[in-house]
Assembly symmetry: C2
Homo-oligomer: 246 residues x 2
């Protein structure tokens, strides 16, 4: 690593970009379109150009602090350290046409805010469906690749950590939790088997005897759960894709 060499990298920039993912619980929406990404539009940017929240690392500032700071500055959303997971580093020459720019990408998981978060900042920020973003390539730089990598990493974390509850409200139903997996799997999951797998995993969720008396919805009132204290899922929750028709 660092030998005692001269400082020759004065034109290098180090940024942090954060992919804030959420799952829209609206049952009207198709499972594939429930996954949403927080994006922003810069004041000076051309219309129809969106970007991930992010910015330059300050001197003496840990990378995760940069992520939290820029997301708050640019979208008004306050994340916590425990919500952040590193996705990777992006540093190809030419990914930024102006200068050599490195970006360390983070992933954050957030319960869905009921409405588009009221953002009173100079920049416009909102959640947009992941699939729509990938279909119409409106993101700057290599941010399409970054959000794709972030989604893949989030899905693998769903399999062997209880992180899916991060997308849910403090009290949630089994269907809420299942819809998180469906959003990332981009497919439906058998409700019966899902329940069994979750309940057999010690400390994944904790039942709260009560029924949800929210809005009167049709159907049997669901049981409510809250997050357990498990840090990992053993055995991992996997969903086989093999018996699908090929």
């Amino acid at each position: 690593m660092p030998k005692h060499e001269r400082k020759i990298q004065m034109d290098f920039y180090v940024y942090v970009d954060t992919v804030v993912l959420t799952v829209n619980p609206d049952r009207e929406i198709a499972p594939k379109d429930r996954l949403e990404v927080l994006v922003m539009r810069r004041p000076d940017a051309s219309s129809n150009r969106w970007a991930l929240p992010g910015g330059a690392v300050k001197e003496g500032e840990p990378l995760e602090d940069t992520a939290l700071r820029k997301v708050h500055e640019e979208t008004g959303i306050s994340l916590r350290h425990k919500d952040l997971h590193q996705v990777g580093a992006y540093g190809d020459p030419g990914r930024d046409s102006r200068w050599r720019a490195f970006s360390i990408a983070y992933l954050a998981l957030l319960p869905h805010p009921g409405e588009i978060a009221p953002i009173k900042h100079s920049v416009e920020a909102r959640f947009m469906p992941y699939r729509q973003l990938q279909a119409s390539r409106v993101l700057e730089f290599d941010h399409h690749r970054i959000i794709a990598d972030a989604r893949a990493r989030a899905f693998s974390m769903l399999e062997d950590t209880p992180i899916a509850v991060s997308f849910c409200q403090p009290k949630f139903t089994m269907s809420d939790l299942r819809m998180v997996y469906e959003a990332f799997l981009q497919d439906e999951v058998d409700a019966a088997n899902f329940r069994r797998k979750v309940e057999l995993t010690k400390n994944f969720v904790q039942p709260l005897g009560v029924m949800s008396s929210d809005q009167p919805t049709p159907g049997r009132p669901p049981m409510l759960y809250r997050a357990g204290r498990a840090k990992e899922i053993t055995p991992p929750i996997r969903f086989r894709s093999s018996p699908r028709k090929d």
Copy 2:
């Protein structure tokens, strides 16, 4: 990301460090101790201090090129782009006591060189057992954490890509391949089930005629295989840890 702001990051350094992993096929060695890491000792470093090969990114140089270049310069080993996989970025203030240093870590998988590679460079380089490195903390900076992350990433890649063959010679036996998994699993694997799982995966390996006519070893001569052309393993090869005694 990059706004039009002044250049304020002149004291930031961007490095690439590479974790070259290999599996020692020596049957005398316990499975847990077969995993080895390529480390080097700097000429000016105090004795007993080792580090991963790596160095600063040059202007206009892709990150992976930096990895290949520094590994070659410092250890004489020539890697290929396809051997490289990114592990992550490390940028905590204070990880380098001299200045703010970011390091992007890569992972490379290499067949075991029969002998410690004869390195005729100014720096001393060699493979050392992973477990021994982690037990005696002789690595510089946060390289202990980096090699731990690299090992975890390699293991997850073993499960759903045919990358294990990267650790083997061009022609290998089923036992050679199985020992790769055992090295990362830190446990033994049933030979019969392993064979079936591998053979049922299309294009994972390709059987050659027969017989290793190497050294006459005790036991029945094994079949020889070479790498298939599959890019991923479906379904993934998993090894359950549940029915072990707890």
